[in-house]
Symmetry: C2
Subunit: 221 residues, 2 copies
Amino acid sequence: MKIGVLGTGVVGEAIATALINKGHHVMMGSRTTGNEKTTAWKNKAKNDNASAGTFADAALHGELLFICLNGEYALKAIDTINTENLAGKIVIDVTNPLDFTQGTLPRILENLGNSKSLGEEIQKAAPGAFVIKTLNTVNYKLMVDARKVNNGDHNLFVCGNDVNAKNKAKHFLVDNFHWRADRLIDLGGIDAARSIEAILPFWVLVYQSLGTPLFNFKIVQ
Amino acid sequence: MKIGVLGTGVVGEAIATALINKGHHVMMGSRTTGNEKTTAWKNKAKNDNASAGTFADAALHGELLFICLNGEYALKAIDTINTENLAGKIVIDVTNPLDFTQGTLPRILENLGNSKSLGEEIQKAAPGAFVIKTLNTVNYKLMVDARKVNNGDHNLFVCGNDVNAKNKAKHFLVDNFHWRADRLIDLGGIDAARSIEAILPFWVLVYQSLGTPLFNFKIVQ
C-alpha cells in the first residue's frame, strides 16, 4: 500500500519504519525538499520502498496518510498541502496539542482544547478526507507494536466521522501494528478527539510517576 | 472518626452511607438547615452516628472532610464556610468541573480547565486545609468499594501538596473503601488536579461506549 507519513520526529520515524518493514511503499514528508531528516531516514531504511518528499508530496503519494506532526505546527503543515489530494483518503491523526512551555505541568495548547481539537481542525482543513484520531495516547514504540506492553492486552481509542473508514483504519492497526481488534474502543465522531487529546497532560504525569513511557490504560470491569 | 460530607447528591450519599457503616460519625452538609435531602439521608441511615447540617456545620464537625459537590456550585458552597474551620484538616475533593450543557459532548467548565482546576481553587479558598484530589475518576459505587470492579485490581489517582496528609488519605481509602494501597498512584501536588479532572469528558465517552459506569482504568506495563 502507498502510505504518506507527515512528520520526521520519533513518531513519524517509528511509523514510517514499521510500515516499510511490513512491505508498504512509504514516503516521509517534511516542510522542505531534501530535508535532512527525511533523507537520513530514507538512507537508513535502505529499501526501495522508502522515499522522501515535502508534506504535499507525501499527501499526494499516500493512499493512506499518517499525521505525526508536532501539535503546535500541525495545522500550518496541513496548510501547505493541496487538501483536495486527501479527498477520499483515510488520514490517521496521531497529533497531540501539548504545550510544555507554560510552567512545570503540560497543558493543552490555547484554542485547541475543550470545545476544539486538532482532530477536528484537521478534518475541517481537509473536508474530503476521512480523519481518524487514534494512537495519540500511547508511546511511539507501542503505537507500532501493541505487544510491547502486557502482551497487547490494553486499550486504544478511535474516533472519526465515517464508520467504514474507521473500520478500515482499525483493520490496518490490527494487521500492521499488532493491536487486538477487541481492544479498540470506538468513541464516536471526530469531535470525540477533544476528549481523547485532553488526557495527554494526565498521560505525561502518569509517565513521570511510573518512570517509563511503556505503559497503557486497560479498561477493566 | 468525625467526618463531614459536603453534598447531598449520589456521590455524597454513597460516601456518607459507607462511612456510617464503617462506624464513623458523619454529618452530611447542604446549603440550608433542615434540607430535605440531608434529613432524608439521616432518617434512612437510622443511626445515631448520622447527622445533618449546613455546609458550615459539616465543615466544623469533621476532622476529615469530603467535598462531593456539583462542580458548577462547589466554589460557591465553599464560600459559605468559615474556611478557618478547615485549617489542619484533610479535605478530600471528589468534584469534577463538568459541563453537560454545551452540545452533545461533555466539556470542562470555562475557567476551570487546563491551567486551573477545582482542586486548586478549593485549596486557594482554604489555604490551611490539606486538599487531596482523588476518587473523582470513578463512579460513586466504585469510590466506596473498589472491589466492585475487577476484584479491586485497577488504579486510582491522588494528588495534594502535603505528603503526610496524602499518606493519611491513602490509608483512609484503603481502610474504608477497599482500595489496594499498591494501586494508588500519586501524581504530585494539587496542581496535578488539572490533569486528573481533564480526563472526565473522556471518562464519559468511555462510559457511553461500554454502557456501564462500573469500569476503571488499570495501568499495565
